[in-house]
Symmetry: C7
Subunit: 94 residues, 7 copies
């Protein structure tokens, strides 16, 4: 059982804050919006930009950061996922 996102949407497996600290990115406790980390597990078929379908920039397996308040939560086979638009993804961590 798999989620196939539509258009410019991606499915992300959220990486919890404790794991994040080990991974090297610590999100400071300021007033600014705090991003979250996750791993891309599925990507949509792309987005229409001025009449041409354009593939998404993120790929399955990318570790990404995104806005904390973006997206819709889904639990599938006991695992929690987040459905995001690619535009909610800020950067890929390499």
């Amino acid at each position: 059982m798999r989620l196939k996102p539509l258009g410019d949407r991606v499915v992300v497996k959220v990486i919890q804050a404790e794991e994040v600290t080990k991974g090297g990115v610590i999100l400071p406790g300021t007033a600014k919006e705090k991003p979250q980390q996750g791993e891309v597990v599925a990507v949509g078929t792309g987005e229409y930009i001025d009449g041409k379908k354009v593939e998404l920039e993120v790929k399955v397996g990318d570790r990404v950061i995104f806005s904390k308040y973006a997206g819709t939560e889904v639990k599938l086979d006991g695992e929690e996922y987040l459905l995001l638009r690619e535009s909610d993804i800020l950067a890929i961590i390499e």
Copy 2:
């Protein structure tokens, strides 16, 4: 008697939460927006994107998840349906 949605609209037969649990997707009780499941029973003729008519990505028979607050309810021959825009559909469950 059938509903033929216009443009980028689709007709979805909602799958109630009890059935969903059996099907493997459980929607957790958090503050985030909770998606709903359904089966696509009719799709519109497509959407104009930069002057060209583009077919919808979802097909009749697809099991989809969508925002809980999206769409318009219609009861036809005793069955309840939801009229959604394709952009309200988050992902197809395969």
Copy 3:
């Protein structure tokens, strides 16, 4: 005396709720937006989409459902009509 709608507008003769029940579509008493039924009696010349005039999808004689709060009421020769944009029409009932 006839109404000729402009652009993407259509003239619809509203079918009252009592008649609707006989016709097979019952609109349930929920919190969601309740659509109304009607018959298309006139259609505009179409809409400009990226520089090309595109005919409307609905035709005269179509039985359609649309949002309850859409459009402008007009009484012509004792009959009540509704002037809608095509985008307010959700689906054709076949």
Copy 4:
């Protein structure tokens, strides 16, 4: 002395409600927006749609209905006119 409207604007001579009743269109006392009638006395040179200038659909002499709250009133040589955008016109009465 004449008004030459710009772009997609038209000048309409409003037909008062009493006259309207004689003419066959009665606007019912409901909560919905009530349209007004008038006669087109001048039309703009047209509207740019995707780079091409497109003539207006209404012509001088057309009897039209439009939203009650649309437009700007002007009195010229003792006569009252309304300056509307064509998009505020709902339909032509034939």
Copy 5:
């Protein structure tokens, strides 16, 4: 010393209400927006519409009516002017 408006802007010399009455246009005391009159004294180089620069429709010397609340006031060499976008101009008085 002259004002050269940018893009789709025009410089208008406002004609006060007293003068307007003599000229034949009287703006009635209703709840609707009341337009003002003026004479165009300078026009911008035009507006980009879908990639092409398009000249303005109003010319220097045109007597125009425009929304009372539009534009920005400037006093130059003791004279008061108004800087408007062409879209704030409703019609030319001929």
Copy 6:
């Protein structure tokens, strides 16, 4: 040390009100928005309009008027500048 504005932005050296009066433009004390004067000291590389990069209309050295509340203040080497979008500039004073 110089500011190089991006895209359709310009750097303006504000001319204070006292100097403005000498220069002939007096901004009256009305309820309408009062423009400010300044001299353009740097311009961006231009703006993309329908796929083509278009040069700005204002040039370095132009004396311009702009909305009082537009832009972002910057102090560079003791001098105060304003970073504006070209669309915030109303007219060039010649």
Copy 7:
């Protein structure tokens, strides 16, 4: 470990106010929005403008000023960064 921003986003290393004063730009204590300084450490692959991908104007190493309230903070390997859209950058300091 590196951040690779998506689309029109850039990663900026913020330069604190104390350092800024030495560098010559002092942000005055007025009611207007105060910009911040930083150095660009990574840029996205560009932005789609009317169907063509266009490279960003800022380059890695540029010293830039941007709105104080723009962007999202990220801490990576103990260093604090800001993820901005290029349109939040006002100017390059040369």
